[in-house]
């Protein structure tokens, strides 16, 4: 799935070839697995009083699904936590993405453990078998995720059939005779509920996919809409997960209390046990045994594919951050099969470390929710408080409500599961540390400025604005920064109704004129300093009705380039200047001003401003 999440290259459209069926199957590959361990964990938490907890988890899943349908509607070009939170702040986006990373690490380990349990590996070998399985997934992914990625899609249908079969087999035995009222107070029930929340992250993957989803019939690539596709992808899966989990939970709790020991023992492969039991009741023990093997095989494979999906998604999220400069660029280095090699090693090694560090399946499950709930809370919170999103009030209310509930869940997880909090803090600490290191290495810095300044600096606001040529004079200003000379040049251009050519000469000490990187190919958009000057001047020019023409040159001799371009472009005025008065004095003492003054054609008037 990594390849589907990665590209956030603004402007460039990737082919929209994911239809609702494929998106749905991908979602099912994560959400569908939840029932494989949710009901078992619910039984561990509250025994025969666990039905309200299972139903509450189903309701939360439905609520999250509804919200993500809205998210997909408003983010047709990708609406995962990173994209949604990035509109608020890059830092928040990184925090959201790192929480997702924490989730994928645990998902890989947990799904692996559950997979080997369903495939019948005894408990004492489960940890070693899971490590071997994760290593295997890593080796397969070394050659690229192309083939492994579609396994979950093939497995979706058999899994649904198996779920329907178990429900059908248990339908005749459903009863409420063994249900117990809640044993503990509401506070404890809430904690138990929080402990059972698992496998919500698939919906994040679907939100990320909207950028490559097939468009709704009434929309166009320039005005994309994927509401219909996303709804069709999410809704059936949500219904299956909600009703499937609730009914299977009920089926589990319809067994008599004499099965308590068995249920506890099979908490990790509860569905296999249920399948075996109810098929045995209907068709005899041998059929039950065979059906149990089928259930185990299907869920084992589905969970195996969930391990793969988690590892690929983990690589994808970090790769996307590296592409965006939020992680060291070295992490994005690919092997010859196009897989980021360092990330692949990390994506395999970290879940293995987590497996070694945790004691058992419950310990592993305890680490899960803090990441995914945090990421979803960041996503929904970002949407709720994003005023530019144009959400109707009821959608904003729904998102706000879900955000508050998930915040409550997150705080409870943090308070009641110290290992989970420590794990999340470690992932965030390491991730933000790498982010700071990567910013430092790529010469990026974080600054807090007023919104007006931020808008001026933002390059994409006006970068697409085309220059408007008018008859009249041309003024060229040679800029070396955002200095008062730019303001003066704008004044002049406004007053004289002239076209303003903003010239930025990138001075390089050594210039290979014969090399392929010729002057003509240099783009101001690729030079951050030039970009800031050009964007600012273009924006101000637009505000003041001045036609601004960016002129960018790379040269080893600034003076001759200024002279050349002034003459070539036939400007009427050439304005040069300095940022400060002492800099102007230096400019005047330097050879640049005198050389320009000497060599500039007489027809071009020179203004030295400071």
């Amino acid at each position: 799935m990594a390849d589907l999440i990665v590209a956030e290259t603004g402007g460039v459209h990737r082919p929209r070839n994911v239809d609702w069926k494929r998106a749905s199957a991908l979602l099912y590959g994560d959400w569908g697995t939840s029932k494989a361990y949710v009901i078992g964990l619910a039984f561990v938490a509250a025994g025969f009083a666990s039905l309200p907890i299972i139903i509450a988890v189903c309701v939360l899943t439905a609520l999250v699904a509804y919200n993500y349908i809205i998210v997909c509607r408003h983010f047709p070009d990708g609406g995962g936590v990173y994209s949604a939170a990035r509109q608020q702040s890059r830092f928040l986006a990184s925090v959201g993405a790192l929480l997702l990373v924490a989730n994928f690490i645990v998902t890989a380990a947990l799904s692996g453990w559950a997979a080997v349990s369903y495939l019948g590996v005894p408990d004492q070998y489960a940890r070693v078998a899971t490590i071997a399985l994760i290593l295997m997934v890593g080796i397969i992914n070394y050659f690229g995720p192309r083939h492994s990625g579609s396994v979950s899609i093939w497995l979706a249908l058999p899994t649904v059939l198996v779920v329907i079969a178990i429900i059908a087999l248990s339908a005749g035995y459903l009863n409420t005779a063994h249900l117990e009222p809640r044993h503990a107070n509401l506070g404890h029930t809430w904690v138990a509920f929080v402990g059972v929340i698992l496998a919500l992250s698939g919906v994040e993957a679907v939100a990320n996919l909207t950028g490559v989803m097939k468009l709704d019939p009434d929309s166009s690539p320039s005005n994309p809409k994927v509401t219909g596709t996303a709804t069709k992808a999410i809704l059936p899966v949500a219904i299956e997960v909600v009703f499937g989990t609730a009914l299977l939970g009920w089926a589990m709790l319809s067994l008599s209390k004499g099965f308590s020991g068995d249920l506890m023992a099979h908490k990790e492969d509860m569905l296999r046990f249920l399948g075996e039991h109810y098929a045995g009741l209907s068709f005899g023990p041998s059929v039950g045994h065979i059906f149990g093997i089928i259930v185990g095989g299907v869920f084992g494979l589905l969970l195996f594919s969930a391990v793969n999906t988690a590892i690929v998604a983990l690589i994808g999220v970090v790769y996307m951050m590296a592409q965006d400069g939020e992680m060291p660029r070295e992490l994005a280095r690919l092997n010859r099969h196009g897989v980021p090699k360092f990330l692949l090693v990390a994506a395999v090694a970290v879940p293995i470390v987590v497996l070694i560090a945790t004691k058992d399946f419950e310990g592993l499950a305890g680490l899960y929710a803090i990441g995914v709930v945090g990421a979803i809370a960041v996503n929904l919170g970002s949407c709720t408080f994003n005023k530019s999103l144009g959400l109707p009030w009821y959608q904003r209310l729904s998102m706000g409500f879900t955000f508050v509930v998930l915040c409550g869940v997150e705080v409870t997880v943090a308070k009641t599961k110290p290992e989970a909090l420590f794990f999340a803090v470690c992932v965030l600490g390491v991730g933000l540390g790498l982010r700071a290191y990567s910013h430092k290495r790529s010469g990026l810095t974080t600054m807090t400025v007023t919104r007006r300044v931020a808008e001026m600096v933002s390059p994409d606001l006006v970068a697409t604005m085309q220059p408007r040529f008018e008859e009249g004079q041309k003024i060229m200003v040679a800029a070396r920064g955002i200095t008062p000379v730019l303001s003066f040049a704008l004044d002049e251009a406004q007053l004289r109704k002239a076209t303003l050519c903003v010239l930025y000469v990138k001075e390089i000490a050594v210039y290979f004129s014969g090399a392929p990187a010729t002057v003509g190919r240099a783009r101001w958009q690729d030079d951050p300093e030039a970009q800031a000057i050009m964007s600012t001047t273009m924006r101000l020019g637009e505000e003041r009705g001045v036609c601004v023409l960016p002129v960018y040159a790379v040269s080893e001799d600034a003076t001759s380039t200024i002279l050349d371009l002034s003459a070539t472009m036939g400007v009427d005025y050439l304005i040069i200047g300095a940022s400060q008065r002492n800099a102007l004095a230096k400019l005047l003492r330097s050879s640049v001003a005198t050389e320009v003054a000497q060599q500039l054609p007489d027809s071009i008037r020179l203004v030295i401003f400071g």
């Binding site: 830092f91 909090l421 001026m456 008037r605």
Partner: protein
């Protein structure tokens, strides 16, 4: 102390000498022994000496680091200042960690104070009593910290005397006989050591104080140095704390664990009593060794003296923490990292909301924990985190001219404290949860503040960051308002006059045409003002033409004539005197312009013209 941390650009009087600074530091560090030895005993019983010594060693190491920091940050070197040079976010994180620390310091010191006072009624309802104490302190601070702030200073000497007395009484009984080997593995020992680290935050206050410390002899306000002054403040306190804690710890472990003593709660062995009285161990030491030296009356009296002195010192430490938290929140608000409402003062000049927060937070923490050991467990994560951020910022700040051995020292201490912080986070879940809550709430409030104040945080390249100055918006505002004045310095009828006229017409400005008659010898006694342009044929040609052209173009032309031996100085004088907005100088021809640029006039004018007047050199 709050107001001492605040200012950045403006110089405040440097009136804190090393003695006062040392006393302020002692108000926090000095209290540490009041509960460190007790907590160490709870952690490891009669095998706790290595832990106590390790805590003393860490305290000494931190002391050395901060003495160096004070040398490099003579204008304030707390975590907020040091980390701000790396990133604003990091500075706020450091400050919030300090808030977490001060919250617990206030609560813990209040609790320990009442324990030392040892009034049964107060001890029975210690949670409520501590809450009441904090509320009373908040009420006192409502009227300003002027009087309460000097309390710690006044108490430093009696406390030091009491510590010396305690050590003096215990010296004859010091022995290694009852020490037990460590019961645990090294890993457990490390965890126990980490659990006993307390009361390091005073050193942060000293680092903050460097901006108001008296300067070292030989340094100036422009090039301040407080290395000696701060070293004199830190060293005696660090030595007292290190040696005092070690000796008192040894004294505690020199008591016979199996000896029985009779107390208000019955008869217990020393081992049991030390566990029961872990909150006022020093008082018990005073009672015990006092009795051994001069009978029960002396013991009881010494116990009361120790109890009262430490009660007052700990109360003042709680007060200092409250005042410091108010200062920290106020400073962040001034820096627009916290809501501006945090700066609203009451009529006594105290920030209302920070005062409320600095009382409410410790009260909430006391109610939530309701246990001294649990409260102590919350302490270290904040202060160790803040000191780690400070030392890490100094270590990795390449622009700080730190010598290699100082940088190595910072790096080593940073690494140790980082591991301590990780251990705390791993072994004290409540502390981690508490500090995460403080950070999340703090960063949430910061984000809301910046949103409301119209600020945006953006990631840009360093070059762009250098270009984007805070006054960029005003700098790029159009300067096209009517009523501007343009002055053109003319030396003949040249194109620069046409340009100046165009400018004046377009900008609807008044055009001052300046003609400077340059003379080689000028008699100062002669009357500059009396010279008339009408008497100078060249000048009158220029002026007449400009008057005529001005009338045609509806531009108001003001002739300005001067006789001078220094044209550049005259141009500068008149530009400033007339308050022009633009000064235009030029040359008749291109080669003349080149000469002008090579000459002195243009460069002198460019160098000396006030920044508010814009200069255009035309050619």
């Amino acid at each position: 102390m709050a107001e001492l941390i605040l200012e950045s650009g403006v110089h405040r009087p440097r009136n804190v000498d090393w003695k006062r600074a040392a006393a302020l530091l002692y108000g926090d560090w000095g209290t540490s022994k009041a509960y460190v030895v007790g907590l160490a005993f709870l952690a490891a019983g009669f095998s706790s000496l290595p832990i106590i010594l390790a805590v003393c060693a860490l305290t000494g190491l931190v002391g050395i680091n901060y003495a160096v920091i004070c040398r490099y940050f003579p204008d304030g070197g707390g975590v907020y200042s040091a980390a701000r040079s790396q990133a604003r976010l990091l500075a706020v994180v450091g400050a919030l960690l300090l808030v977490a620390d001060l919250t617990v310091t206030a609560a813990l010191s209040g609790w320990a104070a009442l324990s030392y006072f040892s009034v049964p009624l107060l001890k029975e309802h210690i949670v409520l009593a501590t809450v009441m104490v904090l509320v009373v302190m908040g009420s006192i601070n409502y009227f300003g910290p002027k009087h309460s702030g000097t309390f710690a200073v006044a108490l430093a000497l009696p406390t030091a005397i009491v510590v010396i007395l305690l050590i003096g009484f215990s010296v004859p009984h010091l022995t290694f006989r009852y020490l037990e080997p460590t019961h645990e593995s090294y890993k457990q020992l490390w965890v126990q050591f980490v659990g006993v680290i307390l009361a390091l935050s005073g050193v942060e206050a000293i680092a903050n104080l460097t901006g108001v410390m008296k300067l070292d002899p030989g340094s100036t306000p422009e090039r301040p140095k407080v290395a000696r002054e701060s070293a004199k403040a830190i060293w005696p306190v660090a030595i007292e704390v290190v040696l005092g804690t070690a000796l008192l710890g040894w004294a505690m472990l020199s008591m016979n664990p199996n000896e029985t003593v009779h107390g208000a709660n019955g008869t217990h062995t020393i081992r049991q009593v030390l566990a029961l009285r872990s909150e006022d161990t020093l008082r018990f030491l005073g009672e015990h060794f006092g009795s051994l030296a001069g009978g029960s009356f002396v013991g009881l009296s010494l116990g009361w003296v120790v109890g009262i002195v430490f009660f007052l010192l700990l109360l003042s430490a709680a007060n200092t923490a409250i005042v410091a938290m108010i200062g920290l929140l106020y400073m962040m608000a001034r820096d627009q990292e916290m809501p501006l409402q945090f700066m609203a003062l009451n009529r006594h000049g105290v920030p209302r909301i920070p005062l409320l927060i600095s009382v409410t937070l410790p009260v909430a923490v006391i109610i939530a924990t309701a246990n001294f050991t649990a409260l102590a467990g919350l302490y270290a994560i904040g202060v160790v985190g803040a000191i780690t951020v400070n030392l890490g910022s100094c270590c990795f700040n390449r622009s700080l001219p730190v010598r290699w051995y100082d940088r190595s020292l910072f790096g080593l201490t940073f690494a140790i404290l980082f591991v301590v912080e990780l251990t705390l986070a791993r072994t004290k879940p409540d502390a981690l949860f508490f500090v995460v809550c403080v950070l999340l709430v703090g960063l949430g409030v910061r984000s809301l503040t910046q949103h409301r104040a119209g600020f945006k945080t953006m990631v840009v390249s360093k070059q762009v960051a250098q270009m984007v100055s805070p006054d960029m918006v005003s700098m790029l505002k159009p300067h096209l308002e009517e009523g501007q004045k343009i002055m053109v310095a003319a030396r003949g009828v040249t194109p620069v006059l046409t340009f100046a006229l165009e400018e004046a017409q377009l900008r609807r400005a008044v055009l001052c045409v300046l003609y400077v008659k340059e003379i080689s010898v000028f008699h100062g006694g002669a009357t500059l003002g009396r010279s008339r342009w009408e008497d100078d044929p060249e000048a009158s040609a220029v002026m007449a033409l400009m008057n005529q052209l001005g009338a045609q173009r509806d531009v108001s032309v003001v002739p300005v004539y001067a006789v001078s031996e220094d044209p550049a100085a005259t141009i500068l004088d008149l530009s400033a005197t007339l308050g022009v907005d633009h000064l235009i100088i030029g040359a008749s021809q291109r080669h003349a312009l080149a000469n002008l640029l090579r000459g002195n006039v243009a460069t002198e004018v460019a160098a000396q013209l006030p920044e508010s007047i814009r200069l255009m050199i035309f050619g």
